[in-house]
């Protein structure tokens, strides 16, 4: 089937991009693996910078309605398994039916595939009942099923704390938020110091003096060192959830499913004090290792990539109009750096305009400029930085684009 543009991913960036294209008369189809649209928005529930609650599903519904009324076609259960330059998107109906096009030819493609969670390896992490915080969020807020009666959250970062709070709101007893095992392969997710650095970005949201202190400590390496050692020994409560920034999970145990966890305090040297290990009964464990861009389609196409941990890892190199190094392939949303839904929407809008221009439709420079300003503003206003320094990193992308700082995809 021939269309003007294909958008891969129906989250905030993809829906927003499609709306821009459709509003300017473009034939556009949005393809998403999920049966419902909105991506990560669907499970989001946290306090917004404007005051009140950010109810992601309401935002998703609005974006979906806007895209549909502009004329975009939204197709769910659709897995895009290959992109061929020129362009052709190969699509699988994941329910294995045969009533929809298996390919779309298009003049441009927007990859808005979002982000996925980085793994946290823990002894026992394959037991049923161990899941990522993202999985717990979807179960709780989308499907309205509790991941467990008593849950432990592992990993101390903005997403983990947000989900811990959501679990508590849903009536799950959250026994605590702790560090992952301090194994070399979990990198700095298990380190007290790196944890404090991550928490700094949350300080303005969380009404906890200790967190604000930790944020201030970021300014000085010496103070950070000190903060790592002298934090409240019993942990702190963030949004009513006990956060133990000096306790690590050692192991998840159970016969065929999660039954208990083994925890131990972490000493000043960063090593767990195994002599003080203790068991806690839980039936769910939610792991958080942070988010990373999900950029497989650009990688297979040989796009240039740039590695920046402040953006979550390897991101497709892209220019000021969100075009990748492969002409006609645009990227938008968290796939270009983990910055959250509002920034993703702004990226999507910009990408949508750029696609229209690529398709030969009239887009005034002023409109592009306005979209760029809106993106800048969204970045400034974003309350949660998933990784410290994301704003600066995103700002540096323009420089990188000019330098073409390639890394092998």
């Amino acid at each position: 089937m021939r269309v003007d543009a294909v958008v891969v991913g129906g989250g905030p960036a993809g829906l927003r991009a499609a709306t821009e294209v459709a509003r300017r008369g473009g034939d556009v189809v949005v393809l998403d693996e999920n049966p419902v649209f909105g991506g990560k928005l669907l499970g989001q529930l946290h306090e917004s910078h404007a005051g009140g609650w950010w109810r992601g599903w309401e935002v998703a519904a609005r974006l979906e309605a806007e895209a549909r009324s502009a004329g975009a076609v939204l197709r769910g259960d659709a897995g895009v398994w290959a992109l061929e330059p020129g362009w052709r998107a190969r699509v699988a109906d994941l329910l294995n039916r045969g009533d929809q096009p298996a390919a779309y030819e298009a003049g441009a493609v927007v990859v808005a595939t979002g982000a996925c969670e980085k793994p946290v390896a823990v002894p026992g992490w394959t037991l049923p009942g161990v899941m990522t915080v993202g999985a717990a969020q979807v179960l709780t807020n989308v499907h309205r099923v509790r991941p467990g009666r008593r849950a432990l959250v592992v990993g101390i970062d903005p997403l983990a704390l947000t989900v811990a709070r959501q679990l508590a709101l849903a009536g799950v007893e959250v026994v605590g938020v702790v560090l992952p095992p301090p194994l070399g392969l979990n990198a700095d997710a298990g380190s007290v110091r790196a944890t404090l650095a991550r928490l700094g970005s949350l300080a303005s949201l969380a009404p906890t003096p200790w967190l604000r202190m930790a944020a201030a400590a970021l300014e000085s390496g010496l103070v950070r060192e000190l903060a790592a050692r002298v934090g409240p020994p019993g942990g702190v409560r963030v949004w009513g959830v006990p956060v133990h920034h000096r306790t690590a999970l050692l192991e998840v145990q159970g016969d065929g499913r999660v039954e208990r966890v083994v925890l131990a305090p972490v000493g000043a040297d960063g090593e767990p004090v195994t002599s003080r290990r203790r068991e806690v009964q839980v039936d769910a464990v939610c792991l958080s290792g942070g988010l990373m861009p999900l950029a497989e389609l650009p990688a297979v196409l040989g796009c240039g990539f740039a590695r920046d941990e402040r953006l979550g890892g390897d991101v497709p190199l892209h220019g000021p109009d969100m075009e990748s190094t492969v002409p006609g392939l645009f990227v938008a949303g968290d796939v270009t750096g983990v910055e959250g839904a509002e920034v993703a929407m702004a990226k999507g809008r910009l990408a949508g305009l750029a696609v229209c221009r690529r398709l030969g439709r009239e887009v005034r420079d002023a409109e592009i400029e306005a979209a760029r300003r809106k993106l800048d503003r969204a970045r400034q206003e974003a309350k949660i930085e998933f990784y410290p320094g994301a704003r600066q990193a995103a700002g540096a992308m323009g420089q990188r684009w000019r330098e073409v700082a390639w890394v092998d995809p």
Partner: protein, 89 residues
């Protein structure tokens, strides 16, 4: 605390830390070579989950040769039912 030798790194193929480290110590220098020796990264997720863990584990143990690629990303980018791949008439 050591990285528990029996800790599963690749969930799909149940490859544990010890197997990966043994492969590296036996001479494997790249993720591709580790994959060949252990099956790590060969399951349905094709390394989407374990890739970063394997990268860290291998580089903790040995420096990969210059320019060595990690696990390659190939088509299809996610599993697809065979019935969806038949040629159109």
């Amino acid at each position: 605390m050591s990285d528990g030798p029996e800790l599963i790194v690749c969930r799909c193929e149940e490859v544990v830390v010890r197997e990966v480290l043994d492969a590296v110590r036996a001479g494997c220098r790249t993720l591709q070579e580790v994959k060949m020796a252990t099956r790590a990264g060969m399951g349905p997720c094709q390394g989407r989950v374990c890739r970063t863990l394997l990268e860290r584990l291998v580089t903790l143990e040995a420096a990969p040769p210059e320019g060595a690629a990690g696990l390659t990303k190939r088509l299809p980018v996610h599993p697809v039912p065979l019935g969806q791949l038949v040629e159109e008439e």
